[in-house]
Structure formats: structure tokens, C-alpha cells
């Protein structure tokens, strides 16, 4: 990356910025749709931005018992997630930083963020932080194999593990309509639900500490720190959804850097993501949260789906 370095950087900034900007909207949209399904009006579409602005303006409060790790946690988490967002093709069938790595790097980076946040959660000495960290790491660990296998399934099908190359390949060869795609998609969808802390694995809206997972982990945070965490989580969710849609329905994604193609791509992306958002909403509002010790079964299901996807494609 020498000649096109400035271009790459620009693209990376653009995509990161775009996703940062769009992420709060996604969260709010899902909230609103949920509210509507429960015959509530729900928050205004810009609520997410209001919250962030407010939190960022508030003074930051920290625990006396905490060390620098506590402050570093949200920042590293945020940085990792945002950086990860540049590894995924969104509007264009290429990831800005695809030259620096593929699926494994993406997963690794998200794991880095999680590590940072979980560690920081243990720093306040509050039992809830510990509980949240423990559960979050547990679920993540259980999700990891299924996630990997799901991604491997599509990666092996395309003969590459680089998301940019992969998506381009998919677009060129056109939709394969292979059943394994469906299985892999289902498997990954479950994982995404788990990773983004949604019902039935976790309840983002709960205020009962004992049932919290992600929320318990960040219970102590306030002000800008909290803002970073919330924002990063939103970004993470958006990244996952974009990954999902572009891996399995790369329809309309821009193959060339032309205004029209870009606009089409943008529209297609927005449409597909909101479609997936609807799915997430439906799952959230039609299911109850699982007991922690039922979650492994769910993970096992998705693992099975992913493995099956591999098997039926290659045997």
C-alpha cells in the first residue's frame, strides 16, 4: 500500500465515519420497531444521537478503586470496533483496509475489544462488573467456534478468507442458491444475535442487574465513557449486520466507484440492513430471554448448522 495509500486512508475514514454516523440510528430504529410491535410510540429516530451527545457532554465519573485499565477499556473497545468496521465491505464490494487482513483479523479485533471491556469491568470491584464480564466472556467463547465455522463455510466456498475478495467473487459468480448458504446464514444470524447482546441471549433493555450480561459489564460507566461503550456496541451491531448481508445477499453492492453504482449500493445496503433489523426485532419481540445455561444449546444449534453447511457443500 504505497501509491494508493492516501486513497485507502480516505476510504477507511469515509467508511468508518459513515458507520459511526449510521450506527446510533440502527439501534433506535430497532427500538422503535419493537415499541411499535408493542403498541408504543417509541423514541424519535434521532434519540440515539441525542443520548450520545448528552453523555459526551456530561462529566465523567469513575470509581476510586479503579486503575487506568478502567478508563482504557471503553477506548480500546471503541477503537477496535471502529477499526474492525473498515475490514468489512459495506457499500462497495471492497473493504477499505482489506489489504491488511480478512475474516480472522476481523474476529480477532472484535475479540480484542471484548477483552478490553471485560477486563475494565473487573476494575471497579463491583460484583456486577465481574458477573457481566464472566458471562460475556463465556458466551463469546461459546459463540466463537460457530462464528468461525460459519465464516469458514463461505470462505472455503469462495476460496478466500479476505472479505473484499470474497464479496467480489460472490457478485461475479452470481447467487449460487446453494442450501449450505442458507444453513450458514442461519448459523451466523444466531451468533450475531448473541454477539450483539440481544434477546434471547441477552436483554439490552433490562434494568435487573442479575439478568444483565453486557449491561452489567458496563454498569459502572457514566458520561463520555458510557457514550463510547454504547456507540461502539451500536457500531459493532451494524458491522455484523453488514457482514451478514454482504456475505449472503451481495445484491446491488457497488462494483465500481461510480456515483450511480455508489448510490445504488448505499440504498441496497440500507435496505438489506433494515430488513435484517426487522428480523432481529421480530426475534426480540417474539422470544423470551433464555436462562444463561440454556444459551449453550442455542450455540450448539448454530454450530451444528455451520458444520452442516460445510459438510453438505463439500461432501
Amino acid at each position: 500500500m504505497s501509491a494508493e495509500a492516501p486513497f485507502t486512508i480516505a476510504a477507511a475514514l469515509l467508511q468508518a465515519g459513515g458507520i459511526l454516523a449510521a450506527a446510533p440510528l440502527l439501534k433506535t430504529v430497532i427500538k422503535k420497531m419493537k415499541a411499535r410491535l408493542q403498541n408504543r410510540r417509541g423514541p424519535p429516530l434521532l434519540q440515539g444521537y441525542y443520548d450520545l451527545a448528552k453523555l459526551l457532554r456530561k462529566e465523567s465519573v469513575r470509581s476510586e478503586t479503579a486503575s487506568w485499565v478502567y478508563a482504557a477499556g471503553p477506548r480500546v473497545y471503541f477503537a477496535a470496533v471502529v477499526a474492525a468496521s473498515t475490514l468489512v465491505p459495506v457499500v462497495v464490494a471492497a473493504a477499505p483496509l482489506e489489504q491488511t487482513g480478512g475474516v480472522l483479523l476481523l474476529v480477532g479485533t472484535l475479540a480484542l475489544g471484548r477483552f478490553a471491556l471485560a477486563t475494565a469491568a473487573l476494575d471497579t470491584g463491583s460484583p456486577f462488573g465481574g458477573m457481566g464480564a464472566s458471562r460475556d466472556m463465556t458466551i463469546a467463547a461459546l459463540a466463537e467456534p460457530a462464528l468461525m465455522l460459519g465464516l469458514f463455510a463461505s470462505a472455503l466456498a469462495a476460496g478466500t478468507m479476505n472479505l473484499g475478495v470474497l464479496v467480489r467473487g460472490l457478485v461475479q459468480q452470481g447467487p449460487s442458491w446453494h442450501p449450505s448458504d442458507l444453513l450458514a446464514f442461519a448459523g451466523l444470524f444466531i451468533i450475531v444475535i448473541a454477539e450483539t447482546g440481544r434477546i434471547p441471549v441477552d436483554n439490552p433493555a433490562t434494568h435487573l442487574e442479575l439478568t444483565m450480561i453486557h449491561e452489567a459489564m458496563v454498569l459502572e460507566y457514566a458520561g463520555p465513557d458510557l457514550a463510547l461503550v454504547e456507540w461502539a456496541s451500536a457500531v459493532k451491531e451494524l458491522v455484523y449486520l453488514s457482514l451478514l448481508v454482504n456475505l449472503f445477499m451481495p445484491i446491488g453492492i457497488a462494483m465500481k466507484l461510480e456515483p450511480v453504482a455508489l448510490l445504488v449500493g448505499l440504498a441496497a445496503w440500507a435496505g438489506k440492513v433494515s430488513l435484517l433489523a426487522v428480523a432481529v426485532t421480530l426475534v426480540e419481540s417474539t422470544n423470551a430471554k433464555l436462562r444463561l445455561f440454556r444459551v449453550p444449546e442455542l450455540m450448539a444449534v448454530s454450530l451444528g448448522l455451520a458444520f452442516l453447511a460445510l459438510a453438505i457443500r463439500f461432501l
Binding site: A12, A16, L56, E59, S60, V61, R62, S63, E64, T65, A66, S67, W68, R75, F78, A79, V82, A83, L97, T100, G101, L104, L105, G108, T109, A111, R114, F115, T119, L122, G125, S126, P127, G130, M131, A133, S134, M137, T138, A140, L142, A143, E144, P145, M148, L149, F152, L156, G159, T160, M161, N162, V165, P224, A227, L228, F293, F307, L310, F314
Partner: protein
């Protein structure tokens, strides 16, 4: 340089022996004794490194004879092949900082009376490991192997007043010796067929074939597996590593297991001819098992050093898994693929050595400062030992395989090897690869959980005991080595290309492999080695993360006012060490989920006087069942003891019985002779 390299190794051995002798002579003066032993060791390490670097750089072996045993007519030939040189480099990269660390560490936490013994054993151990890596003669190899065992035993038994360390030392001794027995048989049978004792002939891969070859493979697999800490012959490891002085534990965990790995490479993978597919499968399953069980057991440990020891088993498993993939590729004659897998495995040998050494050194500082190994009694150490804490954190991030640190590249490479193996392997066997991939993913994720727990519970929040609250930072001499290793973690993480291109000569020197040049993408990047299947540039991506961090700083750090410090909210109560989340609690969910493996047992007895609802006190005991110890080893030992006891009747003290033996023997022989001529 070249000349120095030529004599580097024998010189190093001499220096070590001299250092040992001096240490023994100065036994009465601990200070001087320590100095002699450790400085000598560092000097020797430098000498060895020159040779190793020279060999790895040039790709030409350095050969010679170390010593001639006139009586039995054995000549200790040695040959520093690129492979040996690689393991030597790994060894010395750890041995140097460990020696430096020990200078201060021994003075604080080693009884003066033990200094001489430990100093001698330390040098003898390193010398023997060096000889193991380079010897090209069976007898030389076996003697070095045996001396290595003895020296380690001596070091493990340093605190021989404690029953635990006596037990650990003996367990280690016995298991290693059984392993050595397998090796002796294997090597001498080979020698019998080859009519020679020199490795180049023995390990040419053309000596034996057919079932005998498989039998020998099994012998060698067991023999080397014991030292490599492969499950199920691992039971000595979690006992022995914690028992030794921490700096020595670092050495053992980082380097001693690589002696076993080296053996697996030299003999099982590349010494017996083209590997059989079943061998590869055996390796892969052993690797998976060790990886997953190792990390699972690590997760539930509350003894920091035991935890690290179990994680050593895990990483050794990952190394073997990579090697297994390579053997599978070799059995299918896919050199490119085999190269990728070997590169993955060898890289992990180096990386694991670095971060495990770092972690053990940091753990040593902590144990020295708190006087305990119980994570539950640490807490809040980051504020009291900021540097040690930082280094431990770096090690923890690295061992969890997170990007930007050196755990990531090797796990990345291993994943490549597995996925490519899947594409390359025909038939149902291929499903074994995604399985391995999934297990590897699970393993590394669990490792992350394990080290979040270790660092978070151990170093953060409030001190959980008075000893922890009185802890203080270690002396500079103990911090410098950790700093060195920590920097190495970062450097190797950001410059994986360097490792790969250094590996080139090593890999090329192995039969059936090809160059890694297609894998190293400059200093910064790596590619999967097969087409553009995958590639990664951690450094470049690191810039992105850095940029994001700057953005965060920009967003949050506008305000001048410092953040307000308030007590943590604990449901209205006061946050004390007792309200903190414990390590046991942290791993509880996983304990429940993996019941099948842990078979946990808990006893809760509540003393209630008034009514069961108002217990006076509640006692809670929980333990994880040591499956292998309980169901394989304990019965074995009992059987042996019982059998031996039963034999006592043969010598029951009655002269008449003894005479009867002779009578019976005479009659039997006479009948055997028969009559008619």
C-alpha cells in the same frame, strides 16, 4: 563471526560446565555463587545465539564432536542444523532474560543453602537442553535427554520440605523415565536395523517400514509426548512447573516442552519417512485434546502458576495440531501446504516461548511480592506493582491470540493450515479439519476468558488479602527481562514477516517442504502460502486502531476537568474485598457448561441452630475432578504397589523355601536336559 559460530556451541557448553563448577566451589558464598552461575549462563547463551543465528541465516549446518567417551567408544557428534538452530534460538531468547531475572529473584526467594545446587542444576539443565537440540548421535542424545530430566528434577525438588514438590519431582522423574524407556527402545531398534548410531543414517526415513515403523512411531510419540506435555501423558506438568522456582518454571514451560516438540519434529514427523495418514490424525487429535482440555483446566485454577502450566499444555497442543496438519499434507504430498503448517507450528513454538516466559516471570514477581500463588488472595496489584502488571497484561493479551501481539500470527497461520488442509484432503477425513478449526477457535476464546480472569481478578480492583495490599514492585533487575520479553511480544506481533522469512532456511532444510518466501510479505505481512487465500498485515491494521484511538481522545478529552472519583456503587453497601467477584465465581458458568469435562463436586454444609433459614455459618467446598489422575494413574500405581507387596512372599525368611527354589531349578533343568544323548 563465522569462526565464533563454528565453535560457539562447544564453547557455550564449556562455559556452562565451568560456571557450574565455580558455583559449586563458591557454595559457601551465595552472592558470588549466584553471580558465577547466572553470568556464566548468560555468556553461554550469547555464544550459542551466535551459532544459531549464523546457521539460521546461512542455512548451512555447523557440525563437530563435543566429547569422546573412550570406554564405550561413543562419540558425541553434534550438528547444528537449521531446525536445531531454531530451537536453540528459542531457548536462548528465554534463557537470557530468565538468567538476568534470576540474579535478583534467587537472592530474594531462595534459601542460601540451596543457591549452589540450583545454580549448578540451572546450568546443567541448559547445557543438556542445548545438547539435546544439537546432538546427532543416539547415545549423546539419550544421555543429554536423561541429564535434562535429572537436572529438572533437582530444580523441581528445590523446596523438598514441601510434600507437594517432592511428589511433583518424583512424578516428573518417573514419567520422564518411562518416556525415556520408550525412546531408548525406539532408537536402539532403529540402530539395530541401520547398524549405525548417527542420526543422519537413523533418521533418513529409509531404515524401517511396515508395522514395525508404526510401532516405532508409537514409541517415539509417547516418549516425546511426555516431555511435550501432551494429554494424556501430561499429568506431571501441572505439578512440576509450579513447584520449581518461578524463573525456572518460566524456563520449563517456555523451553523444556519444546525439547519434546523438537523430538516430535526430528523423529516422528521427519525422521521415519513419509508420515502415515493415521499418524497425522493421531497428532491432530492429541493436539485438539491437549488444547481444549488444557485451557479448560487452566480456566478453573486458582493457583496462578498452575494456571499457566495448564495453559502450557494448551499451547503445546496447538503446536502439535499444526504439526499434525503438516504431516497430513506430507502424507498427501502437498509440500506448499505442509510448509504452511510447519511454519505455523514453528512460529508458535517461538511465540509461545516468549509470552509464556513473560507471564511466568511476571507471576514470579507477584508470588515474590505477595508470598502466595492463590489468585483469590491477589487483587489490586496493578496499583502496587504497575510495571509487573503492565507486562502481565501484555502477556495475557498475547496468549489470548489477539491481534497486534505475537499470539495472533501463529494462531492465524494455524487456521490457514487447517483450512487449506480441508481443501486439500479428500474423503471424510477432511471433516477433521473444520472440527479442529472450531476447537482451535474455542480454545483461543477460552484462553481469552482465562486470562481476563487471571489479570482482572489478580491485578485489578481491591486487594483481597493483607499480603496483597502490602505487595510492592520488584527490583529493576527483575523488571528489565520482563520488559524485554514484552517488547518482543509486540515486535513479533507487528512484524510476523520477519519470523517467517527467518524460518525459511529452517523449513527448506526439512525433507518434503519448500521455501516460505511466498508466505512472508515483507517484514509486516504474512500470506497463507497458497495463492492469495488469505493475507494479513497486523502492523498496517495497527495504524487504523491507532487512528481510532486518536479519534476517541479527540472526542472525549475536550474537557479540562479531571473525572470525578467516587466509591463504587454496591447496592448501598460498601465495596470491600469480600464483595468482589472471585476467580472461582468468574469461571463458574463455564464450569457448569462443561460439567461433562470437569465433573465438579461441591459440598455445602450450613450450620443452623434456630432454623435452616437462618444458618449460623455456611461452609462451601468445590473441586474439579482430576479425571486422568483419578481414573488412569491412581489405579495403575495402586496395582503396582499391590503386586510388589504380593511378591514379598518369595522372600518370607524361611531357608527351606530358599533351598526349595534351588531344588526346583535343578529338577527343572535336569528334566529339560532329558536323558538320551
Amino acid at each position: 563471526m563465522a569462526t565464533l559460530a563454528a565453535i560457539g556451541l562447544p564453547a557455550a557448553i564449556l562455559v556452562r560446565l565451568f560456571a557450574a563448577a565455580t558455583a559449586l566451589a563458591l557454595a559457601r558464598r551465595p552472592r558470588a555463587c549466584r553471580g558465577a552461575a547466572l553470568v556464566g549462563s548468560m555468556l553461554a547463551s550469547l555464544l550459542t545465539v551466535t551459532t544459531a543465528v549464523e546457521v539460521v541465516a546461512s542455512g548451512h549446518s555447523v557440525e563437530g564432536a563435543l566429547f569422546r567417551h573412550a570406554a564405550s567408544g561413543t562419540v558425541f557428534d553434534y550438528a547444528v542444523t537449521p531446525l536445531s538452530a531454531w530451537f536453540l534460538m528459542v531457548l536462548e531468547v528465554i534463557a537470557l532474560p530468565v538468567a538476568l531475572y534470576s540474579v535478583a529473584y534467587f537472592s530474594h526467594s531462595l534459601a542460601a543453602s540451596r543457591t549452589a545446587v540450583v545454580g549448578v542444576a540451572f546450568n546443567v539443565l541448559l547445557a543438556s537442553v542445548e545438547v539435546v537440540f544439537v546432538s546427532s548421535d543416539v547415545i549423546a542424545f539419550l544421555s543429554a535427554w536423561e541429564v535434562m530430566t535429572l537436572a529438572t528434577t533437582a530444580l523441581v525438588a528445590t523446596e523438598h520440605q514441601e510434600r507437594a514438590s517432592r511428589r511433583a519431582a518424583y512424578l516428573y522423574l518417573v514419567m520422564s523415565h518411562v518416556g525415556t524407556g520408550c525412546l531408548v527402545t525406539g532408537f536402539l531398534v532403529l540402530a539395530g536395523h541401520a547398524g549405525s548410531l548417527s542420526f543422519p543414517v537413523l533418521l533418513s526415513g529409509r531404515v524401517v517400514s511396515g508395522p514395525l515403523r508404526d510401532g516405532l512411531f508409537v514409541l517415539f510419540f509417547v516418549g516425546f509426548g511426555v516431555k511435550a506435555g501432551i494429554i494424556p501423558v501430561h499429568v506431571w506438568l501441572p505439578e512440576a512447573h509450579p513447584a520449581a522456582p518461578s524463573s525456572v518454571s518460566a524456563l520449563m514451560s517456555a523451553v523444556l516442552i519444546t525439547a519434546g516438540i523438537y523430538g516430535l519434529y526430528r523423529v516422528c514427523a521427519f525422521g521415519l519417512g513419509i508420515p502415515d495418514q493415521n499418524w497425522a490424525l493421531a497428532f491432530m487429535f492429541a493436539g485438539m485434546l491437549s488444547g481444549i482440555l488444557g485451557v479448560l483446566y487452566a480456566l478453573t485454577q486458582t493457583d496462578l502458576k498452575r494456571l499457566l502450566a495448564y495453559s502450557t499444555i494448551e499451547n503445546s497442543g496447538i503446536i502439535v495440531l499444526g504439526l499434525g496438519a503438516a504431516m497430513m499434507a506430507m502424507s498427501l504430498e502437498r509440500p506448499a501446504l505442509a510448509t504452511a503448517a510447519v511454519a505455523a507450528s514453528l512460529t508458535h513454538v517461538l511465540n509461545h516461548a516468549v509470552f509464556k516466559g513473560l507471564l511466568f516471570l511476571a507471576a514470579g514477581s507477584v508470588v515474590m511480592a505477595t508470598g502466595t500463588r492463590q489468585i483469590e488472595l491477589f487483587g489490586g496489584l496493578l496499583k502496587r506493582m504497575p510495571w509487573t502488571g503492565l507486562f502481565f497484561l501484555i502477556g495475557a493479551l498475547a496468549i489470548s491470540g489477539l491481534p497486534l501481539l505475537n499470539g495472533f500470527p501463529s494462531e492465524w497461520l494455524t487456521f490457514q493450515a487447517l483450512l487449506l488442509g480441508f481443501t486439500a484432503t479428500p474423503g471424510l477425513v477432511r471433516l477433521n479439519f473444520p472440527l479442529a478449526g472450531a476447537l482451535l477457535a474455542l480454545t483461543s476464546a477460552l484462553a481469552a476468558a482465562c486470562f481476563v480472569r487471571a489479570f482482572g481478578i489478580g491485578f485489578l480492583a481491591l486487594p483481597r488479602s493483607s499480603s496483597a495490599s502490602r505487595a510492592h514492585e520488584s527490583p529493576l533487575l527483575m523488571l528489565v527481562p520482563q520488559a524485554f520479553l514484552a517488547m518482543l511480544c509486540v515486535a513479533l506481533g507487528l512484524l510476523p514477516g520477519v519470523t517467517l522469512s527467518a524460518l525459511d532456511t529452517v523449513v527448506v532444510s526439512l525433507p518434503g517442504l519448500q521455501t516460505t518466501t511466498s508466505m512472508a510479505d515483507g517484514a509486516l505481512g504474512m500470506a497463507s502460502g497458497v495463492g492469495r487465500f488469505d493475507y494479513v498485515v497486523p502492523g498496517g491494521f495497527g495504524l487504523a486502531v491507532l487512528g481510532a484511538l486518536l479519534f476517541v481522545a479527540a472526542v472525549t478529552a475536550r474537557r479540562a476537568t479531571a473525572p470525578r472519583q467516587v466509591p463504587t456503587w454496591a447496592c448501598g453497601g460498601e465495596v470491600t474485598a469480600r464483595t468482589e467477584y472471585t476467580a472461582t465465581a468468574f469461571s463458574k458458568p463455564l464450569l457448569m457448561i462443561f460439567k461433562a469435562v470437569y465433573r465438579p463436586r461441591r459440598e455445602v454444609d450450613a450450620l443452623a441452630e434456630v432454623s435452616p433459614y437462618f444458618p449460623q455459618e455456611v461452609r462451601y467446598r468445590a473441586e474439579v475432578e482430576p479425571t486422568f489422575e483419578r481414573y488412569i494413574y491412581a489405579p495403575l500405581v495402586r496395582a503396582v504397589i499391590r503386586g510388589a507387596g504380593a511378591m514379598r512372599v518369595l522372600q518370607a525368611g524361611s531357608l527351606h523355601t530358599y533351598l526349595a527354589y534351588v531344588l526346583v531349578l535343578a529338577v527343572v533343568l535336569l528334566v529339560w536336559l532329558g536323558g538320551t544323548r
